[in-house]
């Protein structure tokens, strides 16, 4: 398979207005991915599927990722007048980055026997603007997996033919794979609780004591 840079130039040649970003992966696998702007995603997907040198005709996997809001603290030295004397004072600046939800598509070519190409789509935030374009129209195989992401992460895929919950029931309100999902308190006695289970146990006992 061609390198991601080459594929990017190919896409840019075919769609001049395209906005692409390579998200590099620092791990030994070095599986870098292509971040596509939402409004151009369907167009890019169609190109990847149909271009004679690429022919990514098979989407093997679609997954969701939940990125929480992050706060990074920076310590900056600022000159300030303290009691008439100018001094350097440390000041912490907080930089808030809003979280977002991601859908990751792994593409292969059955015809040219290459892959995977990793395609990423990002929502604007984790709240109201959780919309992504559906790529089911391009790859039929993405249908159930997009439904699964909708079910577990709450990403709304615009243009999906049948966007319903697939694993949980229809009346279910939560999105269990989100990192801030709160489980119902159905604690059960464990003889040797540890780690997360121990945490759950403590929470359960605390809530019970609050009730009485």
């Amino acid at each position: 398979m061609e390198s991601l840079e080459q594929i990017r130039t190919r896409i840019a040649a075919a769609i001049p207005t395209v906005r692409l970003e390579i998200v590099s992966n620092g791990s030994p696998s070095g599986q870098h991915s292509l971040l596509v702007a939402n409004e151009q995603a369907v167009e890019v997907a169609k190109f990847l599927r149909d271009a004679a040198e690429l022919k990514f005709d098979y989407v093997s996997n679609v997954t969701g990722i939940d990125w929480l809001d992050t706060v990074t603290k920076k310590i900056v030295k600022v000159k300030q007048k303290v009691e008439g004397i100018e001094r350097e004072v440390d000041q912490t600046l907080e930089e808030k980055k809003p979280g977002y939800l991601e859908a990751v598509y792994h593409l292969y070519s059955m015809e040219l026997k290459h892959g995977p190409l990793v395609l990423r789509l990002r929502t604007a935030d984790r709240g109201e603007k959780n919309h992504l374009p559906s790529l089911t129209a391009v790859w039929r195989g993405a249908e159930f997996q997009e439904r699964e992401i909708f079910d577990l992460y709450g990403v709304v895929f615009d243009g999906h033919p049948d966007l319903r919950r697939i694993l949980m029931w229809d009346g279910f309100k939560d999105f269990p794979m989100r990192k801030d999902y709160v489980e119902p308190d159905d604690y059960e006695y464990e003889p040797t609780p540890h780690d997360e289970v121990l945490e759950k146990t403590k929470q359960h006992h605390a809530s019970e004591e609050n009730k009485t």
Partner: protein, 203 residues
């Protein structure tokens, strides 16, 4: 009748029995299970019913496709919260007397999925279970052992008196409430009439 006298008479070729013994003997040797499986334990259950382990030796080879004709429900596999109401409904549709074997770690407690969001932490939260089999999945021998345990249990059931089984008590429930799909969990999360876990002492 005195048990010693009975066995002595049997040695002499005189067969004496009670109606209770005969009735239970008939019942315990013809337990028809409901033919359904939920996960990998079902594969072991199928293996048990096939030639190598041969569940037919216990009179239980007739897996019924309808709950109306079944005596025994083998809950073989993971019961997800989405599946739990259907399992309870199938149990409700079985005629009395009916028995339940919870097979495998998932069916008895949720197993490896216990801490997850989508798996019921044991079918005994909603229906009364007669025999629990641990294992992931249990060997066919374990299922056979559960069968023999159930047969012993049926054999020991008295037909009268205070200790008689549920199906001989007029007014005792034979149907159990089917849980509803709630917004966050099944409602109710368990049936307190069936499921009373011991409260362990806490320091």
């Amino acid at each position: 009748m005195d048990e010693g006298l009975k066995s002595e008479l049997r040695k002499q070729g005189v067969f004496l029995t009670s109606f209770e013994e005969l009735y239970n003997w008939g019942r315990k040797n013809s337990i028809w299970p409901l033919g359904f499986g939920l996960a990998c334990c079902a594969i072991e259950m199928i293996a048990t019913s096939m030639a190598r382990w041969d569940l037919a030796r216990f009179g239980a080879e007739v897996f019924r496709p309808s709950p109306r004709q079944a005596d025994l429900m083998i809950v073989a596999g993971t019961v997800t919260k989405k599946m739990a109401p259907q399992v309870v409904r199938l149990y409700n549709q079985m005629p009395e007397p009916k028995y339940v074997i919870a097979m495998g770690a998932c069916a008895i407690s949720g197993g490896p999925f216990k801490q997850g969001y989508n798996v019921l932490k044991g079918i005994d939260r909603y229906i009364p279970v007669d025999v629990h089999i641990p294992g992931c999945p249990p060997r066919p021998e374990a299922l056979l052992h559960a069968f023999m345990t159930l047969q012993r249990k049926i054999d020991e059931q008295p037909l009268s008196g205070a200790a008689r089984p549920r199906h001989l008590v007029a007014g005792a429930p034979s149907e159990f409430p089917v849980p509803e799909f709630g917004e966050h969990d099944l409602e109710p999360a368990s049936n307190p009439a069936v499921w009373q876990p011991p409260a362990p002492a806490r320091a």
